[in-house]
Symmetry: C2
Subunit: 158 residues, 2 copies
Amino acid sequence: MTDHDAVVLSSADRHWDSAVGADLAFLMARANARSLAGVSAALKPFRLKVRSFAVLSLATEQDRLSQRDLAEFLRLDPSQIVSLVDGLEKAGWVRREPDPDDRRAKLIVATAAGRTVHAQARAASDAWERELFADLDPAQLEQLVAVLRTIAEVPDLP
Amino acid sequence: MTDHDAVVLSSADRHWDSAVGADLAFLMARANARSLAGVSAALKPFRLKVRSFAVLSLATEQDRLSQRDLAEFLRLDPSQIVSLVDGLEKAGWVRREPDPDDRRAKLIVATAAGRTVHAQARAASDAWERELFADLDPAQLEQLVAVLRTIAEVPDLP
DNA sequence: TATTGTTATACTCTATAACTATA
DNA sequence: TATAGTTATAGAGTATAACAATA
């Protein structure tokens, strides 16, 4: 491939720098590891982990949320949701309520205490994210969100 | 904050969409999970996992690479490198060679078979990455790499 | 005294199957 | 017959401490 060819490169035949430490999967894994480490540290004072924080967030932001909904949205096995909800329920931050429309299902709702903790934890994790992405200008941030969104395939909540 | 203020937003006080499923840490974790799942699938025919592929890649691309170097670059505990190298050595893809300059250290070098497998595995994982990022134009790809690189903090190899 | 590779161990995550009560 | 939640269990991944050989 010559320099001349470079001006007509399409994404399909773009030079792919495939050395470890340069390829996208590796960089993404690294960036994610750093992001998660920071979020974990930010959540620690609230005795929340990334997973339980996600459940508490959804319970706070969403109503009529069943454990099945949580499992699908977070792509976790329903059995893992059980222990996550157990922990949050024992802390008094969410309640299991019977679904009036389906006696098999339980709706997970945040308590007042849960909402308070969630707001504080969200502020802490947002602060870390702002720090992590401080060097990006708003346009870059927006583009990053857009790119990640196309790749992430986040499902809609019911 | 009023609408008027919005026009002078800097990255520090940009509106931060902090709902789960919209915040950057969540999107990054999701995007990374999808990326890694694809790489794992691409590597499966070669009986490589993401970790062992990284070690094999470094052994192929780098010479005079000690286990200590691998541990630092991959941010893994030295004890985890032991079992990764064990696996690759049993498969005949890398060798432990004594470091002539330091009799404590062992240099990890790829064998001919290891290089062959690595080339094929690299092609497979690159193909997946091209597929995953097919919707991005070259400029977006370049920007994504640049952004991830600033966040990933990948160390230099000695 | 510090470092390299190694072993051992415990702890967290993750994946899977089977069970119950409802639909 | 299928679905929601639960229990139990095994496997993978991760973190930590201690040790022998060498610097």
